[in-house]
């Protein structure tokens, strides 16, 4: 928060301008994950802690991007229409109950990709341009 608002604005504008640059946001899993396509509701359930397992029964490892990542803001805006701060507050409330575990936050897109490639139960979201053949797309956020 030490950045100047002007820069934030620029960042936001570039982010928005960048949106057309992203073809789309996609939810990906390990290629070996038996899950096929996921419905939007299923993605929402997983990313709000409501669902903790894949339809096949294997437990989910939620992966998230850095808190200030533009990708993260775009994802939550697109998925549930909430800001990152609102999502954070939601998770904070959930955390006090001690039942749910929030997504694991990884610092870069590369780290995220790496984590998905290495964990069979991991699930993450990416800019479709960052896709390579080593992860499986289960949901496209339009």
């Amino acid at each position: 928060m030490r950045r100047l608002p002007v820069l934030r604005l620029i960042a936001l504008l570039t982010g928005m301008l960048a949106v057309p640059a992203h073809a789309e946001l996609v939810v990906v899993v390990h290629p070996d994950n038996p899950v096929g396509e996921l419905r939007r509701e299923q993605v929402v359930d997983l990313y709000t802690g409501r669902g903790t397992k894949f339809p096949a029964g294997n437990a989910v490892i939620l992966i998230d991007h850095a808190a200030d990542s533009e990708l993260r803001a775009a994802f939550y805006r697109g998925l549930v229409g909430k800001t990152v701060a609102q999502i954070n507050a939601y998770w904070a409330r959930l955390l006090f109950s001690g039942r749910a575990s929030p997504p694991i936050v990884l610092p870069s897109v590369a780290a995220v990709l790496d984590a998905v490639r290495k964990n069979r139960d991991a699930i993450a979201y990416l800019d479709s341009r960052d896709l390579d053949g080593r992860v499986k797309v289960v949901f496209r956020l339009k």
Binding site: V44, T48, V80, K82, S97, A100
Partner: protein, 527 residues
Amino acid sequence: MLNRLHVRVAATIAAIALLLAVVASLVSFQRTHARELQAAERALLQLGEAVRPTAAIAAYLDNRDIADDAIHGLARNDSVAGVALTSRTGLAARLGDAAAAGGRAPVVRLALASPFSPGEVIGELLITPRQEVIARRARDAALGQALALAIHTFLVALAVMWVVQRMFIRPLKRLAGDLHRLTPGEPGELGYPRGHERDEIGGLVDDTNRLLRLVKDQLDSERRLRAEIETLERRFRTIYERASAGIFLADPEGRLLMSNPALCRILTPDRPRAGEAPASLDAVFAEPGRVVERIRRMDADASLAAGDFRLRVPADAPQRWVHCLLAKVVDEDGTPLVEGILHDITDRKRQEQKIRFQAEHDPLTHLLNRRSAEQAVAAALRHARESKAGIALCLIDLDHFKPINDSHGHEAGDRVLVEIARRLRATLRQEDIAARLGGDEFLVAINGVGGRGDVESVARKLLERLLAEIPLSEGVTVRVGASMGIVLSGEQAGDFAALLALADAAMYAAKAAGRNRFHFHDGDAAG
């Protein structure tokens, strides 16, 4: 007690204040109670709103921990009896006396929407209010409000009472007391109650004082007047009661409305005290008709009349006379009345009668004298001519009278003449006339004579009685003779003198024929 002004005012204000306090308190209680209940419901709603996001998350996740957290927070509020949080997906967290949805108790119901898709209802938060606490609070608040209002009203009433007492009742009471102690007509005035010199109460004092002065003046002048009237009345009464004249007041019908003691004394002089006030003119006058007639005639000419009238006296009492002044008066109602003033003139009247009798009668025999005989006969003749009746004049001359005078003395002669007069009167009727013309010559006039037959019997009877013995004293009797000359007015025209001359001639003829007989004027002898 209730007729005291200040008590009434106080009671009225107290009653109005009580009524107002009751009504205001009731209204206030109702309003406050309702408002408090609404406020309590609103407060519950707000409470619910505060935990709504958390509750929504709990329902979204079917997370009992979060649900418990939310409903525990709510249940800590002492106006909440119970809380229930349910989700469509099976969560059902309850705490306390949680009413089921659709139960009968009033429940605050909040729908829970999914935090991530607004509009999608995923659960329900039900808050059951603790009715008794809410109701008690509402009642307490309403009671407090009502009590405050009642106290306020009471204090205002007290203040109004004090002001009314001080500004109206006290000065008015003082005035009323002062006025009560004053006696109208006596000196004394009302004073101003302090502070009210210029307002309406001061005006009341001014007006009352003016009225008091007026009453006093009026009473003073009335007292003076009454004293004057009393004096006058006393004098008039004295005049009326002590007057020697009888005074009466009569109405047109002859009833006496008033009469003074003198009238009673005149009516009954021998019993001056016992006499009762006469009731009518009939009781006063022997011939009330004459009095009434006099009064009626007076109407035509004047308002004052006078006359001599005979008083009504007992049958055996001597006649008495009054001179009466009559005056018309009109009383207050306009009724015409007659006022009479009577003087007893009996003595004068008797004197008059005596003088007249002496003038008209022979002092020895009390028969009419020549002059009045002439008048009486003239009147009888006039009357006879009018009534077509006749009268007989009968001239009687005594014979052998002079020798009695000579031998027995004048006194005996006089006694003979008196006896002759008595016999004449005894033989004649009341309406006939007997007169002594002089010496031993008498005249008799007989009224209502039809013919000689009527006269002859009377003349014969007269002659017989005159010739009877006349006792002079013990054992001494005398006789006189008599010659009568008779003339009838029906047979002879002429005045008294002419008739008398004819009778005289007839008498001499009888005397010449041998005395003790009567002759008619044409020489026809009889007896």
